[in-house]
Amino acid sequence: MKLELGYIDIKGIRFDDYNAIEDGVLVINPEELVKPVLEDELIKSAHFEIAEPGESIRITPVKDVIEPRVKVEGPGAIFPGMIAKVDTVGSGRTHVMRGMAVVTAGPIVGFQEGIIDMTGPGADYTPFSQLHNLVLAMEMEDSGASAHEYEKAARMAGLATAARVGELARELVPDEIEVFETPTIAQSYSDELKDLPRVAYVMMLQSQGLLHDTYCYGVDAKRTLTTMISATEVMDGAIVSGNCVSACDKNTTYHHLNNPVIQDLFKQHGKTLNYVGTIITNENVYLADKLRSSDWTAKLADFLSLDAAIVSQEGFGNPDTDLILNCKKLEAKGIKTVIITDEYAGQDGKSQSLADADVAADAVVTGGNANETIVLPPMDHVIGTLNYVDKIAGGHDGSLRPDGSIEAELQVITGSTNEMGFNRLSAR
């Protein structure tokens, strides 16, 4: 498949009584944009706020982060199976509003997670402090509907808003165009590629239940067999997040759209390696599903005649079992495997990092230790609510201090130990 991404660089956001993109500034009429959100009876209240890099703003609790995009040429539309029909995406041209995101915030359940600080020490640990954020803060109706229904309402509101904002970029001339082309199996044996090591990306998707789900073309990843997808389909929003537990290592929709493993594999494709394909697999609770899914990962990898594979995961605890199963089985096929993960090594960093281990997992890239503690200074303004910070994963009684500062583990920060390797902090 061949997809052109046309980047429209967003330099700021402001509110006015019309919607447009003017010289890189997104102008939004917030009353107009919020109307369709409020049509959902489950949403009691919703409003937009702007959070710019460097501002003394804390956004919490964060549900999802989504980059506005719009398909301008080629079949299908952004977020197939969710907002758009199920037609296959990943070819033609898509415009990307680069440098901004729609952030959904608000409580679904009583324990919450996800903090984005736009300045201060916390800003270093989340990539979203660098973006111009249009925050959709929502509150759910206390109507006795199930938490599943509230989660879906929040999820769809975020995706629909990002798609509506993305529409504003449809007619613009991009600031930059990048072309991505995924080879067929026959093309992967062309003269230019045949002597390079054959590498695939194995993307593990969280798939465990309420607040722990991922969707591919609208299909709940719990119900899929391991399969293949074109990397360009992922760029068109084929995979979206329904996962909002464990802020540090859940993959937001933004992470999926801007998957760094995919980005880096394309940069090396045709030069140091042959990026032959992308395998997606799941992280089910049922152990036989884990065995089956990892067997299929190895089977597809073998079918692709891979020399090497990169495996990324999502979430805490039991996915480590899937990660190690995938790694072991790939290595057993003679496929050199690198895994990307984060760690829960205790506040002193001395405990075993993963819930599972094997000698075959000898090439590991870490996204960092989620148990590292941090003190986040008070911010001038909170979008969302701080009522939940004591209830945030990684927080504890007394986390929220009287002066508004927060003492907690890195776990609380959205994207801080991302297991696709999205972040750039490193250590010697």
Binding site: F111, V245, N284, V285, L287, S351, A355, D356
Partner: protein, 133 residues
């Protein structure tokens, strides 16, 4: 009459309420999260196999008081090493991180019950489809 090939070890009252009629439970109302994991380990020592991961979900085991784990309905003559490794790793994960305590409100406890229920429910279609475990 069909008999299930699996049972659920749990301390979650919402699991008892929602699945008690349709699923065989080992329900221990007063057990802590850690207690449940140790009971599962005891079952493994008696030849039962674990069917769902004891660290299901991303809510941390030291935060949620509720845990449900699916095991085989009958024990076998030998210990399943895969099950043993998994339960030992799960207990270790709970032990190694000495988190400071949080006192949860009733609402939050209900939410944790809901998440735990959803996690064990997510395994039911696979458990039912599989037949012989």
């Amino acid at each position: 009459m069909s008999s299930k090939t699996y049972k659920v070890v749990t301390n979650n009252p919402l699991v008892k309420e929602s699945l008690g009629e349709s699923t065989e439970l080992y329900y221990f109302e007063d057990d802590t999260h850690r207690d449940i994991l140790e009971r599962v380990r005891d079952f493994v020592h008696q030849g039962y196999r674990i069917l769902t991961h004891p660290l299901a979900g991303s809510v941390k085991p030291w935060e949620t008081p509720y845990r449900s784990v699916m095991i085989t309905a009958e024990g076998e003559d030998k210990i399943d090493i895969f099950s043993l490794e998994i339960i030992e790793q799960a207990i270790y994960a709970l032990e190694k991180l000495k988190a400071r305590p949080v006192v949860w409100s009733e609402k939050v406890l209900v939410d944790f019950q809901l998440i735990d229920l959803s996690l064990i429910q997510s395994a039911l279609p696979s458990a039912e489809a599989q037949g012989r475990q």
